[in-house]
Symmetry: D2
Subunit: 332 residues, 4 copies
Amino acid sequence: MILHLKAGVNAQRINELTTELKAFHIRYQEKDVLITGAGMKTIPVAIEKEVEKFWAFDSDIQLASTIYQKEKRTVQLGDVVIGGTTNHTVLIGGPCSVESEEQIRSASELLKSLNLSVLRGGCYKPRTSPYSFQGMGLEGLKLLAKMREEYGLAVITEARDATHIDEIIEYTDIIQVGAKAMYDQGILRACAKTDKPVLIKRGFGTTLQEFVQASEFVLSGGNPNVVLCERGIRTFETKTRFTLDLCGVAWLQEYTNLPVILDPSHAMGYAYGVAPLAKACTAMGVDGLLIEAHPNPKVAKSDASQQLNYEEFTALKRDLETVAGAVGYKIV
Amino acid sequence: MILHLKAGVNAQRINELTTELKAFHIRYQEKDVLITGAGMKTIPVAIEKEVEKFWAFDSDIQLASTIYQKEKRTVQLGDVVIGGTTNHTVLIGGPCSVESEEQIRSASELLKSLNLSVLRGGCYKPRTSPYSFQGMGLEGLKLLAKMREEYGLAVITEARDATHIDEIIEYTDIIQVGAKAMYDQGILRACAKTDKPVLIKRGFGTTLQEFVQASEFVLSGGNPNVVLCERGIRTFETKTRFTLDLCGVAWLQEYTNLPVILDPSHAMGYAYGVAPLAKACTAMGVDGLLIEAHPNPKVAKSDASQQLNYEEFTALKRDLETVAGAVGYKIV
Amino acid sequence: MILHLKAGVNAQRINELTTELKAFHIRYQEKDVLITGAGMKTIPVAIEKEVEKFWAFDSDIQLASTIYQKEKRTVQLGDVVIGGTTNHTVLIGGPCSVESEEQIRSASELLKSLNLSVLRGGCYKPRTSPYSFQGMGLEGLKLLAKMREEYGLAVITEARDATHIDEIIEYTDIIQVGAKAMYDQGILRACAKTDKPVLIKRGFGTTLQEFVQASEFVLSGGNPNVVLCERGIRTFETKTRFTLDLCGVAWLQEYTNLPVILDPSHAMGYAYGVAPLAKACTAMGVDGLLIEAHPNPKVAKSDASQQLNYEEFTALKRDLETVAGAVGYKIV
Amino acid sequence: MILHLKAGVNAQRINELTTELKAFHIRYQEKDVLITGAGMKTIPVAIEKEVEKFWAFDSDIQLASTIYQKEKRTVQLGDVVIGGTTNHTVLIGGPCSVESEEQIRSASELLKSLNLSVLRGGCYKPRTSPYSFQGMGLEGLKLLAKMREEYGLAVITEARDATHIDEIIEYTDIIQVGAKAMYDQGILRACAKTDKPVLIKRGFGTTLQEFVQASEFVLSGGNPNVVLCERGIRTFETKTRFTLDLCGVAWLQEYTNLPVILDPSHAMGYAYGVAPLAKACTAMGVDGLLIEAHPNPKVAKSDASQQLNYEEFTALKRDLETVAGAVGYKIV
């Protein structure tokens, strides 16, 4: 249950109520807000006078639910706004992994030349084998920060586990909670304590219910700047890497107030399918796209098969502008 | 392996070769064509002189493969062409089930008013429970035929099992092999012996490999007029009815020469998601869409939750025209 | 809803009631029984006096439900009883496909030497490719019938589609409705009209709900002799052919009154795993096992990798006796 | 590739080789062992003389592979040995969550009375909702340590994320890497640096390949004491909580040298299915079982539906002894 407290309730009383109800307390849109589990369906008589308004729920999707707030949330990212009614599809590009200054600089220049604003690049790679390239780590983070400085790009990189979350928060503009780290409360709770935007990727074995509940860890901890990212679920089909769940995206758009970004590169796993899928996503009016691009995909240290080269990325951006236009959106 | 025989080889010799190689023999594009399993990788020396050209394959996707024929096949349906390089997205509409003359007539009038050409309506419903509405059967088929007569629409309906396949072939313009009947060789072999267009729906537990192999039953039996239809696969996600596999569609477009039609209604299972998904499909440049529409979805005898009303269908058609235009396609 | 009519209600009245309620009418355990969909929760006042007892349900699992009948059904197969409280695990053995008289005779002799009673062998193979071995068809059925004659074995073979269901019913002692044919109402309705035992295999993309509902087609049509067979579902895991769903078996044992047989050979897909899985199944107190055995698996025309040779099958039978003994069962 | 170095190679040279080959260096079974990725198929000529023996692999399953070591590894846990050729099935019991001293003491007494040796109890619960009970944390760990002291039991508890891994390592005898934390390199690398036994649970969306590769993080980091735990994968079936993958267990037993433990409680999600599934697992000759038991399951703070009460647990232990005996195993 979500409870908006009346304006006059003082800090001490809020503390008491928070403890009593075993609730989370946040300030949201200039209100003092308490949140308990969805098991609570009515408010105790004793506190009726202190509550301005309340919402009951069927499940623990509460702050993210359109029942609580119908308007889509906005997340400010430098000059760019994600979500809301901006009708922006933010095209986030860059390599799977940061591999060198030369490589990440070339990606930055590509984005600038296309008037794009957000650069992606993995530094801590959540590889499933210890014998694969594990990412450049802190050195990579510093290269991203350098690019931000030089090119005025916002940067996004993935937190793999809780051991380096502080560094990620420090160096990036959007914290990406990776698909394999999505249940990691160490990460989610750290994200709740900052006000930086957080992009949560859906785990490939994760239901929509669990996915949105992960966002509740961040929202109920006090950070309202959450973006969801669908990147493909694991099914019986093996000809493609994962299965992009656009039915699920339609559900998220209908039942949650969070901006939704899509990652067709990871879903497909093969470059030939990235452009048609990106167009499909764009036609749904999504709030953003994550597309992997590499100066020379064949020699990429990770995900070689799915990264576009710069020519393909440039052509795709142009095509997406046309599709976005057809549904009243703009690629930014 | 596919073998194109030279022009001079006579009927008796073709028979001998067919028997010897345990092959299928068809006439395709004015050639005598033999097809064996993909296990055959080289042609016997003895027949080298009689073979004009041959293609070896890694798997039993052969006639449908772009290795054999890169150009997308066309399927003629009255005045409408599905597939090829027409850049047509054929919008097939109509109710889940034929329920009455009044109902199917209203759907026909809707389609005519929107300049659409193909009417859908189930007569033999493949329900999973014996206690649900099973369809109007032959009576429904006759209603569809009447609509074809009166409105000049092509009609499509589903074959549920082999016991009524002859009726389906007789009364409809496109034979729909249902998702639950997709492995039914009784149906597939009957479809192979006609030259009517056949739309094969992917089973919800069916791999892309098996799906395309089902088309090989029809193609290798002599009917080249096959269309594939993706309608959602079954995954762990339960908030939507199925998961529309657009990654799979990208694969089909890349590796097969068959036209591909999509059915977002069955995939989603809920009307609110049909429009966004239909737009997504259209942006991929697909050859057609199957969209369920009912004069009053709330009282529909099957699939009530996923059918659009006529106002929604009309609005969707208009929106799809804009999206189709953005990728160089036309809704017909 | 299931309604037991009182003893005095006459045939004409039963007909009336059947029509009125859109019900199925069967004789079961010396009662006249009407069955409607689960949507019906209360009985009309007008017929209260004619109804002896009735059962309402949450879903269309009705005749198969333990709510209706707690005791497990028995299916008589020659001298062997499947199900009930016999504590029999019927070990059904034989090759994937009938390939020759010599082959199927050797399997028959193996079974006789081990005091087993039921021989399996496919005649119409539901292959997913037209270019694979499709089975011996009618000729195979005749060989099975010959073995029954000579060795006194009951025989089981699979119906692939409705075109040959009459032959299957004629020649076999248990009709196997294959995993790919499980939704085929042509087959299910034909099975409902005979009183021969019917073994329904779960489709690999089929929920337990749909699986048991398939049995309702047969039961509500008048044939009470249904056995369910779990043979593995399709999941994201590819190191094994399918995933044997023993959680599902526990559910079937708890909530349905149908005997349950397991097919670890098809689930696993590899001979090395058949023995451990067969032991696991046996320890659950299942009513039967289907195990593929071939005189020389390496040259088998289908499913070569998963068939046991006769030595392995013999050793397994011995091991299963010990495991069965530990849970109070007997291998027959 | 795994390389066993000859006895004489000195520390400095080992360092050089490790750097040169980008290898992991461990001491295993009194050898100096280097491990590189499976991409390396042959050894450089320059080091041939220093290498005693080497093994090449198809995939990054290397140290865990039967190609490298056929004999099953043993993990010593106080007096109990898990794995090897002991033919022990270690029955680990206890509540889902540690809730109070009284509760965990009663579980300890139950285990002692049944001559069992390992107590489970969650302290950091990886809940998918922030509004659910999150576990007692450090306080719970201290209770587990107290029980170990008083009852001589080994204790196992789950690491949820990397923020508390040091505490887990300090207080428990087996570190459980939870299903949702299985890709967490912060945890895996911490586990690699201790020599305490590590039980890795398979993620519900995790392939067998990825599952075993997770163990390679620990093994290649120097800790040989790894046990795998299958606890059910997520499939389309919803009548049970997950689907226990015993086909996968057969694969693990055939292709890896790691002890395998099963968790039927989490797989099933309902108490009625735990006993039949536990018997099934036992009949496969597994190295252990994790079974949840609670003094009063109805009031449990987590997983109420799947925990056995003490009477059921006691009866199950007795039944498992009989089944274990049938396959030559002993419950310890």
